[in-house]
Symmetry: D2
Amino acid sequence: MKLSKSTAILLIHCPDQKGLVASVTDFLHSNNGNIISLEQHVDRAEERFFMRVEWELTDFAIPEEKIDDFFGTLIGQKFRMEWQLHFTDRKPKMAIFVSKASHCLYDILQRYMSGEFKVDITAIIGNHDNLQYLAERFDIPFHLYPITKENKAAQEAEEIQLLKDLGIDFVVLARYMQILSNDFVDHFPNQVINIHHSFLPAFKGARPYHSAFERGVKIIGATSHYVTADLDEGPIIFQDVAKVSHKDTVLDLKRRGKDLEKLVLSQAIWREIQHKILPYKNKTIIFD
Amino acid sequence: MKLSKSTAILLIHCPDQKGLVASVTDFLHSNNGNIISLEQHVDRAEERFFMRVEWELTDFAIPEEKIDDFFGTLIGQKFRMEWQLHFTDRKPKMAIFVSKASHCLYDILQRYMSGEFKVDITAIIGNHDNLQYLAERFDIPFHLYPITKENKAAQEAEEIQLLKDLGIDFVVLARYMQILSNDFVDHFPNQVINIHHSFLPAFKGARPYHSAFERGVKIIGATSHYVTADLDEGPIIFQDVAKVSHKDTVLDLKRRGKDLEKLVLSQAIWREIQHKILPYKNKTIIFD
Amino acid sequence: MKLSKSTAILLIHCPDQKGLVASVTDFLHSNNGNIISLEQHVDRAEERFFMRVEWELTDFAIPEEKIDDFFGTLIGQKFRMEWQLHFTDRKPKMAIFVSKASHCLYDILQRYMSGEFKVDITAIIGNHDNLQYLAERFDIPFHLYPITKENKAAQEAEEIQLLKDLGIDFVVLARYMQILSNDFVDHFPNQVINIHHSFLPAFKGARPYHSAFERGVKIIGATSHYVTADLDEGPIIFQDVAKVSHKDTVLDLKRRGKDLEKLVLSQAIWREIQHKILPYKNKTIIFD
Amino acid sequence: MKLSKSTAILLIHCPDQKGLVASVTDFLHSNNGNIISLEQHVDRAEERFFMRVEWELTDFAIPEEKIDDFFGTLIGQKFRMEWQLHFTDRKPKMAIFVSKASHCLYDILQRYMSGEFKVDITAIIGNHDNLQYLAERFDIPFHLYPITKENKAAQEAEEIQLLKDLGIDFVVLARYMQILSNDFVDHFPNQVINIHHSFLPAFKGARPYHSAFERGVKIIGATSHYVTADLDEGPIIFQDVAKVSHKDTVLDLKRRGKDLEKLVLSQAIWREIQHKILPYKNKTIIFD
């Protein structure tokens, strides 16, 4: 059974009720759709059902452009579902925001250049020009938007316009050292992925490595999450940690933290590209 | 949606083909079975389909004692499935084999006494009497079968008889320092769980910590697996590792390894009790 | 070079200055003390020097009972050192406080019974009688001190008296679900080791697993630390974490957390017994 | 106490004997050398002593160019020591060997460009030209030496000459898919660092991810080590692992392994640059 290139993915959630899996799989099966993978989850506290299902489009009886309508009419509305439909032969468009630190950007670019990230990087946006050389070396358009207290609203308005014009699917904050305004965030709900350099909820806000050093913790961490209006409170996508000791200075923590940051961010991007993340309220379902 | 106490679990595998998920979920749904959890996996190299599905028995139209027959007749045979049917209100029966080391046995007994392991420990079997005191303190029958080259076949025959008489579902080798004969293993296919004190396939056989020390590795590990006729080659269930350094002597490796051993073994037992393991050829599918 | 059974350990800290290592090692060497291990650390932010040195007492020119005086007079006072002197042939005395949960107590008892923890467990103190059976099965005196708002001060006074009478070196709170009063803590500065069921400083206080579930974190943790007057703010000794997912309910987090708790607590106890911990201000130096 | 830029490092090993630490520290102290860090280790099985000591050169009484002679005459020969002397104001020279995979090279270049690796990358040598673009974008000389069975000896001879001409301190094999000849290795004893894509000693040789998949392991790993004449048998510097499951195909293992490979290799390079590695026989002492 060869894996056909062309597949579709449905991400679904709805109130939990009987017959959900049977209805969805029967819809696919009766239309000759071969299921590649299926994962479901029930949150019993929320009484809510979550599902990710991927199937081959070859031989599927319903044409691509009609799947959304047919699914909605036959299944989705009946069960009060919310759903996203993705086609894996369409590369998502991604923009990257950076400041000065380069480690996350290098990590993303390597995965992009080698084909690991099947994505179009349409723009790199910086509030400093330190990483312009890197964007240029890889022929990715770099846009400089220096941010001050005074120009923040205007600059963000231009950034939003640019992202809309480019048809961006999601934004990655690759150690972007600015807090996005609520207005910006409202334009891209659960579409902006940030990397925070601590294991949230510990050490929210600025200078987490200094705080970790002061507290004398024996592990440090990093957290990738969707950006919401509440700083460092958005749905967590991925976290990882490393053991540290009294020998580590703040500089050591920063150095060692970079390895966590780049990996934890790239893990989130990977899952985003694979459509494996389903955010619900302030949490995520990750269909690994 | 309250979780009913009484649920059933099907573990299935068969050649991959279209309509498998739809057929099984439709069978459950059309008989008013509410699916609690469903996980499926397709091994594309083997072209084989694997599934674990759990559903509530309350309101299920088919009586417990007829489910196996109905499922087989309506679904299983059609798709050439192999399957196991389990009921969660029936505690599995487990026997433990020990030698002298106590750490795994304590760990198991704590989980048993506290109700974490919903299992009946029907017998503790030792080739030494060192841990008899512990079995007695917890009122579990202890059987002493000292093993020598000469009496091994006879002693094992008695052990097999005892396990059969007790109706044991699975056996745990909790640092049992004897190699079971092929004959013994044949009586309990994929029913004997061993803990090996290395990250297999490294350091198979005897004295893995000495070998790890000699090789100068920077991590040690432990592996729980089903016992097969080939020593340390059975399907792996769980593995974990710990970082070590040049400072660690063989004694340190042994001491630190014990923490791995007991956790890795108990993780396997937990999954066995939950019917989350599906061995196939020399591998396992773990429905976590 | 056989390791002599009888060794001494000095734990030292003082303002950083030139010649510290040379002076201490020369003191030991010139008195025919063979150094088994030596570790030092300089905290440059605090400009403070820390050291742990262990040497063989066989052939050492200064008798055991005079070492403290000689070292202080010749070295310690000159460099304004604070130091502890330990002899490894003397077992420390430990008391354990428990409530209802048994997992940490089993873990400690297994290590005690097998000789891994070379310590005297002189008393197990409970505010509930749930674990009395376990203490009795291992012939360790169990003392019941039920705590209410009204009797807390009186009960603690008795506990303090008991611990003093027994000559306890350190106390382990093995999931003891009571907050010790400041008065209690003052009697045992850096002598009470607690296990908190989160990766501090996240989820301080009560019900950390519920909070972790609510926040949707992807890792949970446990932290062992010395108890100080500020709740969950004492010097951290050891931390570890485990990955979790959206599939884990609060009950799953609690179950999985227990494995972290018992290991993280036992790691701290091991280091305490080996005299490898040097607390300074709100941090610890761990001479691993 | 400000950290002076200019420090010296001694890496020492010799037969274990009394007075070693005292003699070395007294040598430094009496010549007004302020010790920044000191770590020692005794391998009791080998009866061998290992030490790393770093001290400030400001105010040190012995001029840099005479330290080696003075230390040898006064201390080293007396104790039959072998030692290396390094000065931290001198950047080591490093060459990188690559084939086609880019992930390790990107990771190294990011650390190099950001100043994390205080090293001179003097040459990138490839047996394919796939990564020439990357070397050029970062203005590092790229040398192409395609290897065939027939030309291997001749090409290696040229590579050795190049490395000698450049005065290379150590070589990094950044997923270089060729086995170096014994002759090559003999020219650079413990100076060639390789990354192997398994947790050695498991899965030595070619295609370790395929072997891991076939065996059904639940963890994969990576190992950095010095290259010796015995393939994948050299002294191990660093290892790390990641958990995998039945869901991971060989391609998934390869993808996930890349993250391990680049981190484990860079950890080794970091320690090499910091002069924290002391190889002895087939093991390493890592002074972390």
